[in-house]
Symmetry: C3
Amino acid sequence: MGKSILVTGGANSGKSALAERLTLGRGASPVYIATSQAHDDEMRAKIARHRASRGPGWTTIEAPTDIVTALRDSDGAAPRLVDCLTMWLTNLMLSKADWQAEADALTDLIPTLESPVVFVTNEVGAGIVPENRLARQFRSAAGQLNQQVAACCDEVWLSVSGCPLRIKPHE
Amino acid sequence: MGKSILVTGGANSGKSALAERLTLGRGASPVYIATSQAHDDEMRAKIARHRASRGPGWTTIEAPTDIVTALRDSDGAAPRLVDCLTMWLTNLMLSKADWQAEADALTDLIPTLESPVVFVTNEVGAGIVPENRLARQFRSAAGQLNQQVAACCDEVWLSVSGCPLRIKPHE
Amino acid sequence: MGKSILVTGGANSGKSALAERLTLGRGASPVYIATSQAHDDEMRAKIARHRASRGPGWTTIEAPTDIVTALRDSDGAAPRLVDCLTMWLTNLMLSKADWQAEADALTDLIPTLESPVVFVTNEVGAGIVPENRLARQFRSAAGQLNQQVAACCDEVWLSVSGCPLRIKPHE
């Protein structure tokens, strides 16, 4: 059973529910590391929906940009769920942080962690090429980040219509 | 061999052809439940192309919004192909119907059907997040609907470049 | 081991790196058939990045539209990597060529080739339906082309977050 897991998929493809099951299967008292910020009603509703679907028993840490510290500080006790890397990347880019340096710090940290961690991320690169240059840069960066994290995780899962498919190691 | 099947995939990924093969493999005199409406030339051309590729021997029922009745009324005789759920959702939303209630009625019905049914649906959530709020709501709803129908189908297939991949039960 | 291979996936999903490994595994002195043209800085940077990641030892043939001739002329000597079919389709459409005739010529050629060939292509149809009619036509054509080439290749691979998944023949 893998200790570091990446769960990817499109919007509303069942990623979070799969990631919650994988986290719960790796220990009690799970920790939810939330990267989303409740800037508007749409996001507030989404956060509330996710919180309700998780059920009780989770501790939440809010870490819009500093998931590296959140993972380091919460290590050694319980499994963690980081939801999600794509929002983390968005937050880093919006705050003009060096996302590549943060990604490198994250992938340096992952192999050293004692407690399990499950990451959720999004597939954003399988549509038509966006006309907007920033959108193209974002989808390139998101794809790069997914590859980089996948390379250092023990397991990678793809969720399609709520059906989990393990793509690393291949079933 | 599953009796209720969901076939998903991107645009022009071979979903319809796969769904036709799966339907034909489940019995003679297949029924095609069409959700598309010929509002413009682009759609008329697409409908004609699909009709030609299916070949003769199919009975067509037009059901832009009421596939629940179409499935109930045609039950007990021959396998059905519903093409497609994403257009059904579009039609329900455009007509201000309660799509969630319709989806619930559909997933209540599926386990009670006697004759096989194959559903086609679309992956719409693997591109960049749309700037348009309605487009975001639609892709959330489409993802939810896919998950809900997949959960009550015996088989789920993903078509990629015309190559079928069974994701439930996993091969 | 397949002699004609298609590698598909979203943007920055690890397609090119996978295609390079598959090409190198099929013989020495590989040939890179490039369809991209350095029209602007963004494309020049991408081409330079790909060239650096491939490393030395590759011969490059530039073939923005005529990959059929490039494949025929380079046959009998070394494995080829065509990167990528989606850009080739874009170039054909922009130059008002008959892309369907070119696709037919390509798929007629593939089974007659002596040396291995690996094609890279893009998944562009798994996002929301584009509002732009030309974008819809392009994603239809891209999906059709992918299906047509996949049908005559010995192997088809999907790359997700850098994880390769063989979808034909299915693992």
